[in-house]
Amino acid sequence: MKPSLILAPLIILYIWLVFIKPAEAGTTSILHVNIEIIKACRDSAVVDPQLKGLIRELGPILNFSGFSLLKKNKISLKVNDKTRLILSPDRQVEVKLLELDDYKARLSVRILEKKKETFKTVLLLIDNGSALIGGPPHEGGTLLLRIKVKFE
C-alpha cells in the first residue's frame, strides 16, 4: 500500500475540520439581564453576603470597605427592547439591547438625571459576561451598577 493511500484521507479530514463550518447552532434571541444596584462606601465595613465576590473583584482597584445591595432586577430583552430602572428619585438607568447573536450581546446603557442624559456607554458582552459602572454619588456613598447577562 502506498503512503498516499493513507495520507489522502488524512488530508481530507484536516481540510474538513479546519475549513468547513459546522452546522449552525440554535440562534440566541433572548438576553437575560441581571442588574444589581449597589451602594459602596468607605465609612462602613458591612458587606452584603450576596456581594462578597465583588470585594475580591474590586478590592485591588477601589478602596471601598462597605457594599450594600439596594436593588436587584432581572429583565429579559430582545433586540431593540429597552427597559428603565429607577436608581434614585431623580436618576434612572436605561438598558437597551442593540444586537444579539450566539457569541455576543451589544448593550446600550444610559444614565439619565432629571431626564437629561449624563452618561452613555455601549458594552459588548459574552454569555455569562458582566460589566460594572460606578461613580455617581448616592446618599453618602457611591452608586455601583453590576450588569450580568445570560443568553437564551
Binding site: 500500500m1 502506498k2 503512503p3 493513507i6 495520507l7 488524512l10 488530508i11 479530514l13 484536516y14 475540520l17 479546519v18 463550518k21 459546522p22 449552525e24 475580591r56 473583584e57 474590586l58 478590592g59 485591588p60 482597584i61 477601589l62 450566539d102 457569541y103 455576543k104 451589544r106 444614565i111 437629561k116 442624559e117 449624563t118 452618561f119 452613555k120 456607554t121 455601549v122 458594552l123 459588548l124 458582552l125 459574552i126 455569562n128 459576561g129 458582566s130 460589566a131 460594572l132 459602572i133 460606578g134 461613580g135 455617581p136 454619588p137
Partner: protein
C-alpha cells in the same frame, strides 16, 4: 516381508505388463502360488493398469481442457489473503514509517490550529466584556478591568467644576 517377496514385488509391474523373460515369469508364478500378499499386490497393479489404459483410450478431442482449467482456477485463489497483505505491508518499514509520521504531523496540525475551537466565526476568544464606547457629561471617565473576572469597570469621575466646588 520375506526377502523373496521383496525380490518378486520389484518384478511384479514388469510381470503384469508382460515385459519379463519366460524364466522370470515362471519364477514369479511359482512364488505367487504360495504368497497371498504378492497376489494381492499383483491384483492392485493390474487394477491400476486397467484404469490408466481406460483413461488413455479416451479421444483427446473429448476432453474439455479449458473447462478443467476454469475449475482449477475457481478452486484455487493464488492471490494473498487480506491478512497476508497486511502482514506484508506492515513488514515494510520503509513504506510504513513515513505514513505514520505524516499522520502524526497532520494530527498535531489539527490540534494546534489557531482558533480551531473558537466556533464558526473564527473570532479570537472575547473577554467577559468590552466597552465599545463611553460618554459622560462630566467629561471624565475611567475604564478599568476587575481583578479576577476581567470584567470591564467604568468609573464616572465628578466633573472639574464639582471637584473645585
Amino acid at each position: 516381508m520375506k526377502n523373496e517377496c521383496i525380490y518378486i514385488s520389484g518384478r511384479l509391474s514388469a510381470y503384469s505388463d508382460k515385459e519379463v523373460s519366460e524364466e522370470k515369469r515362471r519364477e514369479v508364478e511359482i512364488h505367487l502360488e504360495t504368497c497371498r500378499k504378492c497376489r494381492t499386490k499383483l491384483g492392485e497393479l493390474e487394477k491400476a493398469g486397467t484404469a490408466v489404459k481406460t483413461a488413455l483410450s479416451c479421444d483427446e478431442a473429448d476432453i474439455d481442457f479449458s473447462g478443467i482449467w476454469e475449475k482449477i482456477e475457481s478452486n484455487t485463489d493464488f492471490r494473498p489473503s487480506l491478512w497476508q497483505r497486511i502482514i506484508r505491508f506492515a513488514g515494510k518499514p520503509v513504506v510504513w514509517m513515513p505514513a505514520v509520521f505524516a499522520g502524526a504531523a497532520a494530527c498535531l496540525l489539527i490540534c494546534f490550529m489557531p482558533n480551531f475551537h473558537s466556533g464558526p466565526d473564527r473570532q479570537t476568544p472575547m473577554q467577559a466584556g468590552l466597552v465599545e464606547s463611553v460618554y459622560s457629561s462630566t467629561g471624565q471617565v475611567m475604564v478599568m478591568q476587575t481583578a479576577i473576572s476581567g470584567s470591564p469597570l467604568i468609573w464616572i469621575l465628578p466633573g472639574a467644576d464639582k471637584e473645585a466646588g
